[in-house]
Amino acid sequence: MTVSCGVCFRGSSMSVQESDLNKKRMAKERWEREYGRAQKREADFTTISGMDVPPLADTEDLRGFDPDAEVGYPGQFPYTRGIHSTMYRSRLWTMRQFAGFGTPEDTNRRFKYLLSQGQTGLSTAFDMPTLMGYDCDSAMARGEVGREGVSVSSLEDMEILFDGINLDQVTTSMTVNCSASIVFAMYLVMAEKKGVSWDKLRGTLQNDMLKEFIAQREWISPPSPSVKIVIDVIEFCARHVRGWHPVSISGYHIREAGSTAVQELAFTIADGIGYVEESIKRGLDVDEFAPRLSFFFNVHNDFLEEVAKFRAARRMWAKIMRDRFGAKDPKSLTLKTHAQTAGASLTAQQPINNVARVTIQALAAVLGGTQSLHTNSMDETLALPTEEAVTVALRTQQIIAEESGVVNTIDPFGGSYLMESLTSRIEKEAFDYIDKIDRMGGIIASIEEGYPQKEIADAAYKYQRELDTGIKTIVGVNKYVEENEEIPIPLLKIEEEVETAQREKLADLKRRRDNKAVKSRLENILLAARRGDNLMPFIVDAVRDYATLGEISDIFREAYGFYRDPGYF
């Protein structure tokens, strides 16, 4: 790192210092003149989120900035430089490719393949019916079984999905939200039947309903009861499944819906505040559950903005947990995060270019200090990934980890004028949003008013207009376009038979199981819902008797009602 001359002469006479300052001022003025005269490529330079970026950052940009307080050391408050003192020198991030398609048998094969290729954790993608609380035999599931993920309607499907996988040796992530409590109950009972005790289980349940209403849009019931069930899972895990992350507070989908980087950060942290507040209201002590909260951010193309976003996220969460909620356990203060490269940034045109985009994004996540990473496959704008495509995506992470060398120094951007000023600016703008949400009465109230939804829709529309008018570029889409291009890569096809096979299997299960027991288990969930009890123990009992995901979701619909999309645009 270069050291300015002013520092070399520290302690010498005033006149020397003054002349140094003069020299520095003159150098800066000279640069400003030269820069001002020169022709520029664009009138305004902005990030992909529309944030102005300076041509150059220097000490001026850090005026008033206290690096000891705001940057500090890794593993120490405010964790700007990373949550661990050694970061990737001890252990690399978890390479976790999101996978799921077709039948549980199909996905089980993909899981085993990924583990055999050096992947270090599993991440399960469920199909839309599962994600929305419908069984594969529901009228709402027509045409969608196994298409966007794996179909899981019952404990039996869950048992097939994890057949032959040692649950005490891998960590499992499950991306599911409104039906998360049910899928998690199936996972717990499946583990129990394999003889793995709940305290040995490690993994993450997405279970973040607030961002569903803001962005991803999978729901059963309205926001308040939906959040109640999220807190049920947090409370249940704090008591019975202590190694598990009961919620993954997700900005990923907020960004995919078209938000800016600041909005992604702000709304995600606001959701986190919402869950902490609700858990405290439930009677939990903050340090009882906060160490197990985890996060999930998007990594988009604008490299420096993304690195800054991760650094700002850690600092904000540490301050909020300490100062707003009085958390004492250092683990409550650290923002642990998964990251996924931005699906919406990939292009159907010239899809091999996506490998380059994913590399840039993955590198930003690593320099941002992520704990876990999914790299998208080049074919994901066209279909679910083929085995070849997912292998390239995994290899991209391995190349960053084992060839690029960026993992060997902790937070290599720390101290950069631009990075520190960008981190502070993103933090400030995100805190402004959080203040506004607080004034609206908190995140649930603001979602009910449609505030984050409208902010995101505005940002998405603005960006699309910038693309349409050529202000922003996407290579191969609005610049360097190839006419009549053929897709040069093979695509994964999901056969129609998946739906039929799953339906038949479920019909068979419904004949074999003890239907009387199922009925009484379902009634118990309804009664518990009416009493306002924690539903988890009742859901666990129900899935153990093979009550299905759709049947339990129907109980939610009965107890709490449906949510309809207000359709803001």
Binding site: M128, M140, E144, E148, A344, T347, D565, G567, Y568, F569
Partner: protein, 136 residues
């Protein structure tokens, strides 16, 4: 604004697919271009889409499908429209739809399928050129 700008267009999401970034951008761009836009919101059955098309007297239905269920949802909605005597409503759409499926969808009556990367201006001009007011 010309007569064609009075066109009423239903922009819809059918099935469980929750990807609504694109559909909302298209709805807004069409509205800003002067069309009357009715957006259904998410998670509609084909029956509900067709019912709304009937109630709202629309001239065209634009569907957004990113769930892979396009080969079921498009033909089903066209079948139901015809069943209700609404076969003259122009049906178009977009989303994640593999090229190899596009011809099949067109044969079943989908007038245009817009792929990822299409600009909103392209969609607006297509609607101007290809959708005419229905004679009711």
């Amino acid at each position: 604004m010309g007569q064609e700008n009075r066109l009423r267009i239903l922009i819809g999401k059918a099935g469980l697919d929750g990807h609504d970034r694109g559909v909302k951008i298209v709805a807004r761009a069409l509205r800003d271009a002067g069309f009357e836009v009715i957006y259904t919101g998410l998670h509609n059955t084909p029956e509900a889409i067709v019912e709304t098309a009937l109630q709202e007297d629309v001239d065209a239905v634009g569907l957004s499908i990113l769930s892979g269920a396009h080969n079921y949802l498009f033909p089903e909605i066209i079948r139901l429209l015809e069943e209700k005597g609404l076969g003259d409503i122009t049906v178009f759409g977009g989303g994640i739809i593999p090229k190899e499926d596009i011809d099949g969808l067109k044969q079943k009556g989908v007038k245009a399928v817009f792929e990822p990367g299409t600009s909103t201006d392209e969609i607006i001009s297509w609607v101007r050129e290809n959708v005419s007011p229905r004679v009711i």
